[in-house]
């Protein structure tokens, strides 16, 4: 008798989310199966990788990931255009890290100007991320959400401590919203419930269960993502059917393995190759766990992950 591969059918489906406007708008999510299980059901959209840029020069990034952007990263507009035009980015994620009170403490007005300039320079979708300072993000994200009104951006991240104002701003200006909780599936669900109870459309939400780098708790992120996706598909849990985001670059390019010099650790091999691999590996693991949106830094790591996606879709 011929072998018939067993197939799962699921009762639930991930919402599809469209970001950006015009013919460069991108849709991700929408599948009714586990990642890349196209043989079991429908996987209408490719996962989206956004190139991370920031409002201030990336002096805090390791040298090997600064290098590809050395000529452009002094200015977020040039940087964004470079990602779009030279690296064929499908989306850009602008992190307003310079607004953090412990960094340049840039004002919401400064952030508005940066966002407007970047939006004017590119036609691919823009993801706008705060500095992860709960209080400051409130004022900054309200201002930039308004400045980007109707550009159908993704705004983030709304957390338990500040979701009300940020969600209201995203709602008023027709954006999508990232809801982040700290590696706790039950709190992730609770935050989605609280945000939708404000009247925010559940199909405009993206869940960030909090990322971690390979070797630094990746298995926790993986497990939470996997369980969220199983709740969405097998239990048809409407509060858990949002696409998921992995904020990969920020976590990966902080760990020792992406920075330690080859001279100090010759058996670890080339620092540059190692860093790129670390980012690509982390990102790929999260794709398998269920992430549909990845924020990444190194162009070669992005290219490697895009290739994996090509082979799996």
């Amino acid at each position: 008798m011929a072998f018939a591969a067993p197939k799962e059918t699921y009762s639930g489906k991930v919402y599809s989310v469209t970001v950006g406007t015009g013919d460069k708008a991108v849709t991700f999510g929408g599948e009714n199966v586990l990642s890349f299980h196209s043989f079991e059901g429908s996987t209408p959209n490719r996962p989206l990788i956004a190139f991370e840029i920031q409002d201030i020069p990336p002096a805090d990034w390791p040298e090997n990931v600064q290098k590809p952007y050395a000529a452009v990263s002094g200015d977020p507009v040039t940087w964004a255009k470079y990602c779009q035009d030279e690296l064929n980015a499908r989306a850009v994620a602008l992190r307003l890290v310079g607004t953090h009170p412990d960094r340049e403490n840039r004002s919401p007005e400064d952030a508005v100007k940066t966002v407007k300039d970047v939006l004017a320079a590119i036609n691919i979708p823009l993801i706008i991320l705060g500095s992860n300072h709960s209080e400051k993000d409130t004022s900054v994200l309200i201002a930039v959400a308004e400045a980007a009104k109707d550009k159908n951006c993704i705004i983030g991240k709304a957390q338990e401590s500040n979701y009300k104002t940020i969600a209201a701003a995203a709602m008023a200006n027709n954006h999508k919203l990232v809801a982040m909780s700290e590696l706790d599936i039950n709190l992730s669900k609770q935050l989605n419930i609280l945000i939708t109870q404000m009247g925010f459309d559940k199909e405009r939400l993206i869940t960030d269960p909090m990322c971690s780098a390979l070797g630094y708790g990746l298995e926790y992120t993986y497990s939470v993502m996997e369980r969220i996706r199983l709740a969405a598909l097998t239990q048809n849990d409407v509060t858990m059917q949002q696409p998921m985001m992995g904020d990969v670059g920020m976590y990966v390019w902080k760990v020792k393995e992406t920075q330690a010099a080859e001279a100090d650790l010759p058996h670890w091999g080339s620092t540059e190759e190692r860093g790129i691999l670390w980012e690509a590996e982390t990102a790929t693991a999260l794709l398998i766990a269920g992430a549909e949106l990845l924020i990444m830094r190194h162009p070669r790591a992005v290219a490697a992950v895009e290739k994996v996606i090509d082979e799996l879709v």
Partner: protein, 285 residues
């Protein structure tokens, strides 16, 4: 069903202050209230009680038994305090219960005390390492505790196996594992092993208004699984016992007269059974 009143715990501020000041009033008031609400035993949790534990436990046992004709569940990790309490315990009101021994070698001497004072003892199915992964691991630990109890001369009829209830807010999958463990524990001896749970831990970390709901319905599910006793809020448990028929009707898929209550019971069963992912607002969805 034996309800062991949980309220005399050092964790509660009012109780802690009364313990520190040796103020009998609040202790006796709370003990009396729990007795009237249906507790058949009173838990006296004095914590690790490293300093003055012996005096404190003796004071607690005599203070409670002065006003309430019930046995005491002596709840501390301090073996000396346990022994001091057992010495003064009035067995006229029933035999005491020690809370607890486990599979941690440091807790083995507690079995000696149980044998020496003819006390019953709780066997918490945890080892020295981490938490038990599932019902099977709880049973494996239970078997070790039972074997050791026999070595020490404690009859198995005097052991209450405790599967360790974990918080639904962080360890939802353990809710059904504990129910399974309660069923399996009973099979481990004939007559069936007695069982006990620290019930309220199920709702630890949950919003205040849903704690009694989770406590009550989880209790009824455990009761259906054959649970012998629970360290719990006796007021909540009295309510639970009143609602038992209603609860079992919903569990059996029947319609009940109160649609709001039916919704609450159904949703709570769903999160306990793991059919719906727990969130603090689960009742509102």
């Amino acid at each position: 069903m034996l309800i062991i009143g949980e309220k005399l715990s050092i964790i509660a501020k009012r109780v802690r202050e009364a313990m520190m000041n040796k103020d009998k009033g609040p202790i006796q008031e709370i003990a009396t209230r729990q007795w009237k609400e249906g507790s058949g035993m009173i838990d006296a949790n004095i914590g690790p009680a490293e300093d003055g534990g012996e005096d404190l436990m003796q004071w607690m046992v005599t203070t409670i038994q002065e006003v309430v004709p019930l046995p005491i569940c002596l709840d501390t990790t301090n073996a000396k305090a346990l022994e001091a309490g057992l010495k003064v315990h009035n067995n006229e009101w029933g035999r005491p219960l020690i809370n607890s021994t486990s599979n941690d070698p440091e807790r083995f001497p507690i079995l000696e005390l149980a044998a020496k004072y003819n006390s019953q003892v709780i066997g918490l199915t945890v080892g020295k390492g981490g938490l038990p992964a599932d019902a099977e691991e709880r049973c494996a630990i239970a078997a070790e505790i039972m074997a050791r109890a026999m070595e020490y001369g404690v009859p198995l009829e005097d052991i209450y196996l405790d599967p360790l209830v974990l918080q639904i807010a962080t360890s939802q999958d353990h809710a059904t594992k504990v129910i399974d463990a309660i069923k399996m524990f009973q099979e481990m001896n004939d007559p069936a092993m007695k069982t006990v749970v620290g019930l309220s831990n199920i709702s630890n970390g949950c919003p205040k208004h849903i704690r009694p709901i989770l406590n009550k319905y989880y209790f009824l599910m455990l009761m259906n699984a054959g649970l012998t006793s629970a360290i719990a809020d006796s007021h909540e448990m009295a309510e639970a016992l009143n609602e038992r028929q209603l609860f079992n009707d919903v569990l059996a898929g029947k319609e009940i007269g109160d649609p709001e209550k039916m919704k609450v019971i159904k949703k709570t069963i769903e999160v306990i059974m793991g059919d719906n992912l727990y969130a603090h607002s689960y009742l509102e969805m």
